[in-house]
Symmetry: C2
Subunit: 113 residues, 2 copies
Amino acid sequence: MRGATDELSLVFQALADPTRRAIISRLRGGPTTVGELAEPFAMSRPAISQHLKVLERAGLIERTADAQWRRCTLRTEPLDEASAWVDRHRDEWNERFDLLDERLRELKGQTDA
Amino acid sequence: MRGATDELSLVFQALADPTRRAIISRLRGGPTTVGELAEPFAMSRPAISQHLKVLERAGLIERTADAQWRRCTLRTEPLDEASAWVDRHRDEWNERFDLLDERLRELKGQTDA
DNA sequence: CCCTCATGTAAGCAACTCCTTATTTAATAA
DNA sequence: TTATTAAATAAGGAGTTGCTTACATGAGGG
């Protein structure tokens, strides 16, 4: 992705990585420090920090300072947007689809005949 | 993304681009040729071809040959998966969240007191 | 057969991603 | 103060993305 700074793109892009999805899943259990988050992954702390930055840029997490720890908490709004987009395109197209496909078949039949 | 060949990552990655989302929206109206798809975009045909390849790799479209045209049709299954993941993480965390947050506040209160 | 139209593929380029190790910042504890 | 701990930042490298232009493929029409 070369530009794509719109919100929806940032959210989908953030979700397009197994490590980041695992972080989100992990955070579902409640706010967690960066060190705790990094522990189960075979990856350096800076790598996790960078993943968190991507999630933060997408609005999916918030980092608040707590002494020398950063407490990461999830935010649900961006997922609502993503979910809305997906569902909108999922539900409607099947019906429309069959209808238009049939109509096209009709038209093609007329032309060919 | 350096590896990330799992299905879910491919789907989210495919959705993480405005052009590709626009293509999907457009395809909701029914099967469409590559040329018709490319027309509204300020972008070369090969660029669209490559976007379609990304969508195809994610299983979001199918291309079938129809004379010298390629008719692109949408597939809904991958979106079902994506939707399932998002919804799973959306619905549950709010409740859990408030609970654990409260519990943490309690613990912290005890420690501080 | 040649010519055109619709599309795909190849090669190249700048920007970005995802990791690394080394360094820096900031808070706690002695 | 100095040392330790938690985390962010810097710099760098291999690989990927998203575009471009040029060329290849393949069907239909003269």
